[in-house]
Every structure is written in C-alpha cells, then in structure tokens.
C-alpha cells in the first residue's frame, strides 16, 4: 500500500465507500424507472490558478448527488427525479463563463447554475437576467440590485470572519495587537475591510495591515515585515489556501509564538506536518470538517455530513477544503426548495427558497439579508462556526451569530468597506 501512497485505513475506507456506491447504483436504477432527470449546471474554474475554489466543489457535488440519488433523488410532486450535473470550466474568465452559461442553459437545459462568482460573473449577468436563470455565487460581492436571480446562500464572504475575531477576543483578552495581510484582489479587499472592522470592534490594535502582490512566490519577506511589528496575533485574512500554507510555515520558521487566525486553513494536516502540533494548537479559522460532532446536530441542514466527509476524504485524500462542501450545501437548499415548490423551474425554486425572508442555511436557520452592503437581500446569513485546531484536528468551538454582530457594529463594517470601495454602488 505504501507504494501507492495509500494506507490501510484509507484503503478500507475507500473500499467501503466503493461498495456502498456500487450498491447504491443498483438502488438508484430501481428508484428511477421513469428516468426523470434534473440537470444542474456547475460553472466554475476547474483548471488554472483558481481551480482550488472550483474543482473540490464539483467533487463534493458528485458525492452529494450519489447520496441523494441513492436515497430516491428529488421528490417533485411525488415523483422522484435523479440529479445530474453538467460542468463547464470557466477558467475564471468572464467570456468563458458566458460561453458556459449559454451552453448549460440552451443545450443542457439546466435548471440552476452554481458559480464561484468573482471575475466571471459580469460576463454571465446579462444573459442570466435575460434567461431568468437562478444562479448561486460563493462571493456575495457579485450581488447588486441588478442581480435579482443571483443568490449567495452558502457563504457571505467575508462577513462571517467577524465571528472568529469576536470569539478570539473573548477567549484571549490579553491579545492586544494584530498584523494582517492579504493578496490584493476581489477576495482580499473585502476581507481586509471586514477584519479591520472586527478587530476594531474587539478593541485590538492593528499594527501591520498590507496587501501583497498575488504573484508572490516567496513569503519570507512578507512574514519578516509582519513579525517586525511585534504583533500578538497574525491574521492571514482570506489569503488563498496555498498562501495560508506558506505564510503559516514562514511564521513558524521565523519563530512566531503568538496566536494565528485566518479565514481558511485548508489541508491543515499538511501545515501541522510542516510546522508542529504545538505551533498550530489554537489556530482559529472558519471552515469545519464535516465529521465534527457539532456538525451532526439537528440544526445542521445537510444530510449525513459525516458520511459525506468520509467519502470525500477516502476518494480525494488531503484535498478537503472550504469549497468541498459549499456547493453541495447549496444543492441541499435547492433540493429542499424544489420539493417545497413542487417544481424545478428556476423562478419557482427561488420563490420557495426566499419565502418570508427566512431560509435554512447549512448551519441552521437564517435570514435573507444584505441590502446595505450589496443593494439586495439575496445573501443568506445566520450562525457561522468558529473553528480551532485542537491536538492537530479542526474542532468547532462555537456557532456565532453574524446578524447579532452586525446589529452591534454595522457602522464599522460599512465604514471600512466604503474606505476600500467595496460597497455595491462603489464597485464597477
């Protein structure tokens, strides 16, 4: 097994998952005698430098579809429908994304499109509006009053990061200063604004706060500069997962002994291996493993998260990331809304999903929100988990309310977003 890079546990896990899937395929065939199929579009970067935000999501969706189809699929007015995904690689380019959206809608007849969002979205927006196609994004900064069919039902990036800072400030009041950095792009800018607001609200002084070039390959100078400000906390904002990996390693190698916080900490096991369990102990971030005991609670709106996580890990070891579950979580919401509406048509599903301004987020009950930031209430917010590494494993410490923080500190967030030109009417 060693030569194949697979240990006994992974082999047994993979075999079990494979047998389960083989069995489920038979069940699926029996359940879908009528072969009714609903096609869902997956339009995200599957190659290129941003593929890490797309491809793991497609893997997650495929596992989710296998599980849902094995359990009978989507029930529309008493009739089971199998879910199938049509994927298109937008390469994180607007023109490719438009080609993909046209192909998915006009040729594949998809009923819903999931996107990463960001740079490709402006290419798709006019077409999506004309086609009245329901589209989801992981980046709520795509939302505006001109996007009535675009929703952000999984994550309201980067607003949920306030929960991590708030929790940390309560747990460790002795921490008084922070140094932070992020790449200068559509993810980094609103993230820095959010962390500025969160640290200010928590009474923590920002002693270093800079962007770095996205083409950076060597992070040693950046970490040297951050450590020179002698901070209690190093905050990596929403740096790309690989940047978090390299920056954290640099913090370790250059002798940092304080607290670390970040939006993500994908493949943290690798970072623990590169640094040490002691160094990573207490590292705070925002994305849980789905085998976490707290994820098995009743409020969680995701079918069998533990089985999903274990199948994912056995099939794609070491690739679990923030986006592995997010697109699948959106599908869970879509499925519930379609069953409630008794229809898979985009506008019916949208209406059922947003009825009464309330919804079911993956982490529990939530509210459709966002007008002051995005110009439209198409972002679903509720509780969000604060995760910390304990003994080398990510553990949810607490679910915290984003709306509760917003009610207390929204002026701060609006100010910092405005300072960086991140409000919807400031973006071009």
């Amino acid at each position: 097994m060693k030569g194949l890079g697979v240990n006994r546990r992974q082999f047994l896990g993979g075999t079990a998952a494979g047998l389960a899937l083989a069995g489920s395929t038979k069940l699926t065939r029996r359940a879908f005698a009528a072969d009714k199929v609903v096609r869902i579009g997956f339009l995200a970067p599957l190659t290129g430098e941003v593929a890490a935000w797309g491809l793991p999501g497609l893997y997650g969706c495929q596992i989710w579809a296998e599980q849902v189809n094995a359990a009978g699929g989507v029930n529309i007015n008493g009739e089971p429908h199998r879910i199938e995904f049509s994927s298109y690689d937008d390469e994180y380019l607007a023109d490719k994304a438009l080609q993909g959206a046209q192909k998915l809608v006009l040729e594949d007849d998809v009923k819903f499109i999931m996107m990463l969002g960001g740079d490709p979205w402006p290419g798709v927006q006019p077409f999506a509006n004309r086609a009245k196609m329901l589209v989801s994004t992981l980046l709520p900064s795509d939302l505006s009053p001109d996007t009535p069919y675009l929703i952000a039902p999984a994550e309201v990036h980067p607003i949920y990061n306030v929960t991590g800072v708030e929790w940390l400030a309560e747990q460790r009041p002795e921490l008084k200063t922070v140094a932070m950095c992020a790449q200068e792009d559509a993810l980094g800018l609103p993230s820095i604004a959010t962390y500025r607001a969160a640290f200010e609200a928590a009474g923590i002084d920002i002693v270093y706060d800079k962007f770095f070039d996205i083409s950076t390959t060597d992070f040693a100078p950046i970490m040297t500069a951050m450590l020179a400000s002698n901070p209690d906390i190093i905050c990596l904002d929403t740096a790309y997962p690989d940047f978090v990996n390299l920056l954290t390693e640099q913090a370790f190698l250059q002798g940092f002994k304080g607290q670390m916080i970040s939006c993500t900490c994908d493949n943290y096991q690798q970072i623990v291996d590169k640094t040490s369990p002691e160094f990573m102990e207490g590292f705070v971030f925002q994305f849980p493993d789905f085998d976490d005991p707290a994820m098995q609670q009743e409020q969680i709106n995701f079918s069998n998260p533990k089985a999903f996580y274990e199948t994912y890990q056995s099939r794609y070891p070491g690739t679990w990331s923030a986006v592995s579950w997010e697109y699948a979580a959106i599908m869970e919401q879509w499925k519930n809304a379609a069953e409630k509406a008794g229809s898979v048509e985009p506008l019916d599903v949208l209406e059922a999903m947003t009825e009464g301004g309330k919804g079911q987020h993956v982490f529990g009950p939530a509210t459709w929100w966002g007008e002051e930031l995005f110009g439209i209430d198409n972002a679903l917010v509720g509780d969000w988990p604060v995760v910390a590494i304990r003994d080398g494993k990510a553990q949810i410490q607490e679910f915290r309310s984003i709306p509760a923080w917003w009610d207390k500190h929204k002026d701060l967030l609006l100010k910092h977003m405005s300072d960086l030109g991140q409000l919807w009417d400031q973006r071009t």
Partner: protein, 291 residues
C-alpha cells in the same frame, strides 16, 4: 532593526540564488539560439514536480531528486531544441510561438499528472533553523540548502564555460553565432548543449525551491516574469549580467517588500526595467550587436 535587516538579507540571498539559476539558463538559450523561451518558467515547474514526485511521494533522497529533476528537464530541453526550435532557427517569432506552445503543453501534462487544486506538499529536506551568528535571526536550513545548491551549480557552470573547450565554443556561439560557425563550430551541436544546460538549470532551480514555494501547474508564471526582468536589466546575452541583475533585483524587491510594500516592490521593479531600457538598452553588462 539590525535583526530585521539581517533577516531581509538572508531572504534576499535565497531569492537571488534561484533567480540567478533561472536567468542564467534563459540567457544561455537566448545567447546561442536567439530564442526567447517563454516555457522557461514551466521548465522550473517540471523540476519542482519531479522533486515532489520522487522525493515527497517516493522517498528519494532530496539531493538525488534534484539531480533527477535536472536530468529530466535537461532531456526535455534537448527534445525542445531538436524538434521545435531547430526547425525554426532564423525565425525568432516562430521560436517564440513554439515556446508558448510548450508552455501550455507542460502545464496540461502537469495537470494530468498531478491534478489541480491545492499545492503539492513538498516537505523541507532539512527541518529546523539556525540562529545566525547568535543574533536571534532564524534561518531555515532549507534556505541554506537553496543558497548552497545554487552557488555550487553556478560555480560549476562558470568553470565549464571558462575552463573547458566546449565552454569556450559555447561562449563563442553566444557572442556571434555566424563567426563561430565560420570557425567550424557546429551551431546545431552547441544549440543542443545550450538548451540542455539552460533547461537543466531551470529544473534544478525548481527542484531546490520546491519545498519553499507553491508547487502547482501554473507556478511558472511568476518566476518567468522575474527572470525576464533580470535578463533585460542585466543585459540580454550576458551571463555575468544575469547573475548581477538577479542579486540587485531580488535585494531591491525583498527590501522594498519588507520595509514598504510588496505590490509597490513589483511595480518599482518593472519601472526599473523600463528605465534601464531607456537609459541603457543593452542592460548593465550587455553589449550592442555589430551591424
């Protein structure tokens, strides 16, 4: 402040080591073949992937994996010269387009080989840090390895070029290919050697840097931009100029990043290149071509 300056010098030394290896290879290829090899960053990437596969995945010793990376990429370079660049000799645009084609092919091969997503995990071959002269400045041993390997390779290259007949002939080809041919030097043979050496150095640079950088199919983009800036500033065709410019540029970039801003450092680096092109178009150590 003293510790900060010392740490920054160490950071800059590491960056300049790998950059010099890349730039010297690029200069060698351009000097002899007159080809602007846009795929040079991808050769760096292949070197990093070779080390990931052999060292991180299959347990080879780190140094053996670097040597293998050098050989693998050298062989790729030989294939590129023989089948792609040689038919395009005398057609700089054709060579350039060929190199862009190779760039995409190597990226796709890397995607097929290792997939996309999170970067490949290449653990440090030598863990831990050394306290520099007891100053409290911690230098990771892996960075010391980068400086050491790069220095050895550059010295070996210098000895090869200045102490062997093949090296003399290679430099003659780089200075004036037509005059070299008139002296009976085979341009085909020395193009092959130049391409192999240049590619091998890029592979070694990628391999030795693999534990320190993001190893993914697109990692070549950033390094090729830096390498082009360096060879333009140093003087296209000048090996010594490439090394000098690599040191100057990376020290400048690292110091500005540390003491001011990383984005500004990149912008200023490009401005310096433009300034050099305006004030001394041949670069710091380049010479004008004879008419």
């Amino acid at each position: 402040m003293f510790e900060l300056i010392l740490q920054t010098i160490v950071n800059a030394l590491v960056a300049s080591s790998a950059t010099a290896l890349m730039a010297v290879g690029l200069v060698l290829i351009f000097g002899v073949m007159r080809v602007i090899n846009f795929a040079h960053g991808e050769l760096f990437m292949v070197g990093a992937y070779a080390v990931w596969y052999l060292y991180a995945q299959n347990g080879w010793p780190f140094m053996a994996a670097i040597a293998a990376a050098l050989v693998v990429v050298l062989l790729i370079g030989l294939v590129m010269e023989r089948f792609l660049f040689r038919p395009m000799r005398g057609n700089p645009l054709g060579g350039l387009i060929m190199s862009v084609g190779v760039l995409f092919i190597l990226q796709v091969v890397a995607v097929e080989f290792g997939g996309v997503g999170l970067m490949k995990h290449v653990p440090s071959a030598v863990r831990g840090t050394v306290d520099l002269f007891g100053t409290g400045v911690l230098v990771p041993w892996q960075r010391v390895v980068v400086i050491g390997v790069s220095a050895v390779l550059l010295i070996l290259l210098w000895l090869f070029l200045h102490r062997t007949k093949v090296g003399f002939a290679l430099r003659a080809c780089a200075q004036d290919p037509e005059a070299a041919a008139l002296q009976g030097i085979s341009i085909n043979k020395f193009s092959l050697i130049a391409m192999g050496l240049g590619a091998g150095l890029a592979g070694a640079a990628g391999g030795v840097m693999a534990p320190l950088v993001r190893v993914d199919p697109y990692m070549g983009h950033s390094v090729i931009v830096t390498a082009f800036i360096v060879i333009i500033v140093g003087g296209v065709g000048s090996l010594e100029g490439a090394v000098l410019a690599a040191v100057l540029y990376t020290f400048f970039h690292t110091f500005v990043t540390t003491f001011y801003d990383g984005t500004i450092a990149t912008i200023l680096g490009l401005l310096i290149m433009l300034l050099v092109l305006i004030v001394k178009p041949t670069g710091i150590m380049g010479t004008s071509e004879k008419v």
